[in-house]
């Protein structure tokens, strides 16, 4: 088929995405910059409130912590699944994919049951006589980090398994037999060879945590709000749509910057990829 008629087939999709997504987003951006009077005053007002600063800072902190924890938990697992436990690989992959497809409401609710006031952990600690009264675990930053780690851990494990599958075990053996220390094997072979998976996983987990809504709402509540719960509160409870629009633009910019930053970091670590 000619290139021209192939291009015509793209038109419905381009129209739909432009009309329903790009134009509304562009209008949102315009709303936040009233050119006639002081164009950036909405952003200044937003960022000047300590309440908002705290939430912005918390959102980034929580996302960063979640990403780091996911890397630490996923890396050894993925290594084992891809290189040692090949026989059971498909089972491990199924167990990682399953929660990914399960409703985030269910996955966050599970943690409400576990860390709630009369939840599993509090009951256990009281039964063990470690504490007398239930401790507040739910509606804290800690709860949000746990919930997000649970939500996004598979997104770190799966791409890591994907790249580590391609590492030949012979390669590691020959490095060892040539006298490389296990540290050397790790830092000079495994890490660079898996960096692309680490990059994909980190971007998915970080941006996912930065923008997740269900988990912060159920596990953070009003005490540990993040940007996404703040935008909902402003838009749907307070009807402060100017502020909600400002948060929306800040969220898009932050997500974009983070993706660029992690990409640049990975480039420096491993210029070949």
């Amino acid at each position: 088929m000619s290139n021209r008629s192939l291009t015509i087939l793209l038109i419905p999709g381009v129209l739909v995405c432009t009309a329903l997504l790009i134009i509304p987003l562009f209008l949102l951006l315009i709303d936040t910059i009233p050119v006639l009077k002081d164009p950036f005053h909405l952003y200044q007002e937003f960022l000047n409130k300590t309440f908002h600063q705290k939430i912005l800072f918390r959102t980034i902190k929580v996302a960063l912590l979640t990403t780091i924890i996911c890397v630490i938990l996923a890396y050894p697992c993925a290594f084992y699944i891809a290189l040692k436990g090949k026989r059971y690989k498909s089972i491990f992959i199924v167990i990682a994919v399953f929660p990914l497809l399960l409703s985030p409401v269910v996955r966050s609710f599970a943690w409400m049951v576990i860390i709630g006031k009369n939840g599993f952990i509090n009951d256990l600690l009281i039964w063990l006589r470690i504490i007398e009264k239930p401790i507040q675990l739910l509606y804290t930053e800690f709860a949000v980090v746990i919930g997000l780690t649970y939500l996004f851990l598979p997104l770190m494990i799966l791409p890591l398994v994907g790249v580590m599958e391609n590492i030949e075990e012979d390669l590691l053996d020959s490095a060892k037999s040539l006298g490389a220390s296990s540290n050397g094997v790790f830092f000079q072979l495994i890490l660079p060879l898996s960096s692309s998976g680490l990059l994909v996983g980190s971007i998915l987990v970080f941006t996912g945590s930065l923008t997740a809504y269900t988990t912060p709402r159920l596990l953070g509540g009003d005490q540990a709000m993040t940007l996404s719960t703040l935008i909902y509160q402003n838009a749907m409870t307070l009807f402060d749509w100017d502020t909600a629009s400002v948060i929306a633009i800040i969220m898009i910019l932050t997500t974009y910057l983070v993706m660029k930053l992690i990409g640049a970091l990975a480039n420096r670590m491993n210029p070949d990829t």
């Binding site: 949102l28 399953f98 409401v105 009369n118 935008i231 898009i252």
Partner: protein
């Protein structure tokens, strides 16, 4: 060897972390008592009966199904021609168009939902259902396009050319030669899109209206007011549904899709 043991221990710990919350949910669903005590003392099915007695969860689930059906049809109508073009064209528009189609994945869900509400639903005064359908087509489209493009890349362009050179029209060749070859890809795309739509909260929560809500939104507002095992019971049913879908995805596209982004 010491290293190996450490690896196994960390693997087991991480997988326990992944599985045990789900087991706790299942156990609490069969718990007789009013609140979510753990471990349960008496087992019963009362919370499962409760779901089917309460109109709100049933109608919310019906809405969810209807919405994902709308969304699947809409995103296929738009996505199938686009995916075909993307997999065959060498035009300079290919890359920008692909980025545009995949952008709903990168844009935060709450932002997407809010933007559609503020600049489409409200100014154009459209109905709740239409607003929801717009939001869901947008979030389903990236999955439909990505899966169908990769499925089409396995169909050599030569067999299509052969059909055309033997006198078939382009459309006919697509329908009888290409389409049968990407059936399982289309099914996989629909399954992924379906589960995305069924589970979505951030976009949907801005677009639901009076009397129209979806299952996850109904569950969300329920657990904020009542802390009883009804939601555990629904969760168990959703787990069963998810298992079925997961096996269908494995059969059509393979779960290795998830390790290769």
């Amino acid at each position: 060897m010491k290293n190996n043991k450490l690896l196994i221990i960390s693997l087991i710990a991480v997988y326990l972390f992944l599985i045990s919350p789900l087991i706790i949910i299942v156990l609490s669903a069969f718990n007789e008592s009013e609140f979510l005590a753990f471990p349960p003392e008496n087992y019963s099915l009362r919370w499962f009966y409760r779901i089917f007695e309460s109109e709100m969860f049933i109608s919310a689930f019906q809405n969810s199904l209807l919405l994902s059906l709308f969304g699947a049809v809409g995103s296929l109508l738009v996505g199938l021609p686009a995916a075909y073009s993307l997999s065959r064209t060498k035009s300079k528009w290919r890359q920008p168009a692909l980025s545009l189609f995949l952008s709903p994945v990168i844009i935060p869900g709450v932002v997407l939902g809010f933007a559609v509400l503020k600049h489409i639903v409200i100014p154009l005064e459209i109905e709740t259902w239409t607003g929801l359908a717009i939001g869901h087509v947008l979030i389903m489209l990236p999955y439909v396009i990505r899966v169908i493009v990769s499925s089409l890349s396995n169909v050599p362009i030569e067999i299509e050319e052969a059909a055309v050179s033997l006198g078939s029209t382009r459309m006919h060749a697509f329908l009888v030669v290409v389409l049968p070859n990407i059936q399982s890809g289309i099914l996989a795309a629909c399954l992924l899109a379906f589960i995305t739509s069924l589970n979505d909260v951030p976009v949907t929560i801005f677009l639901t209206g009076p009397g129209v809500t979806t299952l996850p939104i109904q569950m969300l507002s329920y657990v904020e007011y009542y802390f009883d095992p009804t939601v555990s019971a629904i969760s168990v049913l959703l787990m069963l549904l998810t298992i079925i879908i997961m096996f269908l995805i494995e059969a059509t596209m393979g779960l290795s899709f998830f390790t290769k982004k």
